[in-house]
């Protein structure tokens, strides 16, 4: 439903977005990741028709954003970064304005506003000026505005930024409910969010795509993928580490003491097979040696580590997908 083709944006000599191409299908929730200034927001601004691309284009439900901007914009619900709104309006007045612009009127508009208000739980603040609302409510007004016309494409720039954990949970649930019917793109800094709601993650750095895959695929690129983490209480000695090292298939061990506990992270040799066997083997040793096991688990991988490795200033996009 979204096809992005060689999208490029230059601000003077600075290239903010450098020939990005990807597409998003119905039912996909694409997590758009990258450090600040990587070009996430600029890409979203171009796809929604707020900024004109320097080169390339995007098609939304078949409408080219450069040549048939308005038709494309009708297909999109957009939550800009910071959820800007007309602060002097009440929530109800603002949503009515959006409904009018979206060519909804009468009963149709009331129904659309009603369901958007219900989905974002805004019923209590309908008559309040938006300026007087808390950050969480303002964000939800922005969300309500974006989903008002039930668009096939939803683009949200940091939808959960500034929300408390409960509100984050609600917004993720909302996105999850809508996911099957729409193509959704969200940008976020919160990596756990990607794991929680995204079917696919795309990491960009300095205007280029450096990784594209399901969260599981990205995690499998982590050096923690298939590693085993063992936390022991009580006193541990050098021999403990030696015992662990003697296990078959271990390449290296990291030891990190914290408080009265010590965590050993065991990295298997890069064959990648037999990770559950490794957990079993560690468990067996722990039993035999009578260690005080506080935690023992196999790791799927760590997104933040993959993210850091791909977007460090010296990464140079070498691992480009």
């Amino acid at each position: 439903m979204i096809v992005i083709d060689g999208l490029t944006k230059q601000f003077g000599p600075f290239t903010a977005v450098d020939g990005i191409s990807f597409s998003v299908a119905k039912g996909e929730v694409l997590g758009f990741l990258g450090p600040n200034g990587a070009g996430k927001s600029t890409t979203m601004k171009m796809v929604t028709g707020f900024l004109a691309p320097s080169a390339g284009t995007a098609r939304v439900c078949g409408h080219d954003i450069v040549t048939s901007t308005l038709d494309a914009q009708r297909m999109i619900g957009y939550l800009p970064e910071g959820a800007p709104a007309y602060g002097d309006m009440t929530t109800r007045g603002f949503l009515k304005f959006i409904a009018r612009v979206r060519r909804l009127s009468g009963a149709e508009a009331d129904k659309a506003i009603g369901s958007a208000v219900e989905a974002t739980e805004l019923a209590g603040v309908l008559e309040q000026p938006i300026d007087t609302l808390s950050k969480g409510f303002r964000r939800r007004v922005g969300l309500a505005q974006a989903i008002l016309h039930n668009p096939p494409v939803l683009i949200m720039d940091e939808p959960t930024d500034g929300l408390d954990p409960n509100q984050k949970f609600e917004v993720r649930k909302l996105i999850g409910r809508m996911a099957a019917e729409k193509a959704i793109v969200i940008s976020t800094h919160i990596l756990e969010e990607v794991d929680a709601i995204c079917t696919r993650a795309l990491i960009i750095d300095r205007g280029r795509i450096v990784a594209d895959g399901t969260p599981a695929e990205l995690m499998s690129r982590s050096r923690y993928h298939n590693a085993v983490s063992l936390t022991l209480g009580g006193r541990t000695t050098v021999e403990t580490a030696e015992k662990l090292r003697s296990l078959a298939g271990i390449e290296s061990i990291e030891v990190s003491p914290r408080g009265g506990e010590t965590t050993f992270t065991l990295f298997p040799a890069r064959s990648g097979e037999g990770d559950t066997m490794l957990v079993d083997a560690v468990a067996r040793i722990a039993r035999e040696e009578n260690w005080q096991v506080r935690a023992l688990y196999g790791e799927a991988g760590r997104l933040d580590e993959v993210f850091r490795r791909l977007t460090r200033p010296d990464a140079g996009g070498k691992e480009a997908a």
Partner: protein
């Protein structure tokens, strides 16, 4: 058309959602009255018409209209709501025109509220109400001219103070271009044709012609062309900012 109406209604409602409308109208009416009766010595003039009243309009508009127009685009840019507006399926012309028409309607409301002046003059004497009506019409069109200038300059910056100051300066040039302050500058070297062209841009010249009761098509064409040109420029500025 739907979108134009939606923008227009939102903008006009926006004036009355804050104390802005109230404060503006009170100050507008107060200064209008004060200028007419004290500076203009209305009673002493012993004339049952509104010539003195209207003669102050260009000078009041010069400062009060940029106060309305400065927020039109600069405020949207500062608060970020411009990103919302321009990513909604609203044609650029509808956004530009909707905002302008709302501001124009608002200044029209303020102008209409000076009707006690009209009642007063009818109570005191027997004025030619056709001339009075022409004066109001001319004043309304002139307000539109100032607003169009201010609207365009508001789109240039995100800073409302800059928008205000630059609008006043440019509006001033357009107001007085027929007066010696501008013509003297050109008189020594520019050919007569250039001189009269510059002078013909003057708001004062066209406005005074209308307030005398002569609604010349040329004066109306002048103001509508000026409004159109500045609004097109406004659209171009907004579009250019889109290109980054």
């Amino acid at each position: 058309m739907n979108e134009l109406l939606a923008v227009f209604r939102r903008e006009l409602g926006g004036y009355f959602a804050t104390p802005l409308a109230f404060i503006f109208i009170v100050i507008f009416l107060f200064t209008m009255g004060a200028f007419t009766f004290y500076l203009g010595a209305y009673y002493e003039s012993d004339q049952a018409d509104l010539t003195i009243f209207f003669s102050f309009h260009p000078w009041l508009y010069l400062f009060l209209i940029p106060a309305i127009s400065m927020r039109l685009w600069a405020e949207e840019r500062r608060s970020g709501s411009i990103e919302l507006l321009l990513s909604l399926p609203v044609p650029l012309w509808a956004a530009v025109l909707g905002k302008f028409l709302a501001a124009w309607a608002f200044s029209g409301i303020a102008l209409a509220l000076t009707f006690p002046m009209w009642l007063t003059v009818n109570y005191l004497g027997d004025p030619d109400n056709g001339v009075v009506l022409a004066g109001y019409l001319g004043s309304f069109f002139m307000a539109g001219g100032y607003l169009a200038i201010g609207s365009c300059l508001s789109a240039v910056t995100r800073n409302q103070v800059i928008a205000f100051v630059v609008s006043v300066a440019v509006s001033f040039l357009f107001t007085v271009s027929g007066l010696p302050i501008v013509t003297d500058f050109f008189a020594s070297w520019a050919p007569q044709q250039v001189l009269s062209t510059i002078a013909s841009f003057s708001f004062l010249t066209h406005f005074e012609a209308i307030t005398r009761g002569v609604i010349d098509l040329r004066d109306i064409v002048y103001f509508t062309t000026l409004i159109g040109a500045w609004l097109i420029a406004c659209g171009i500025v907004v579009d250019m900012k889109k290109a980054g």
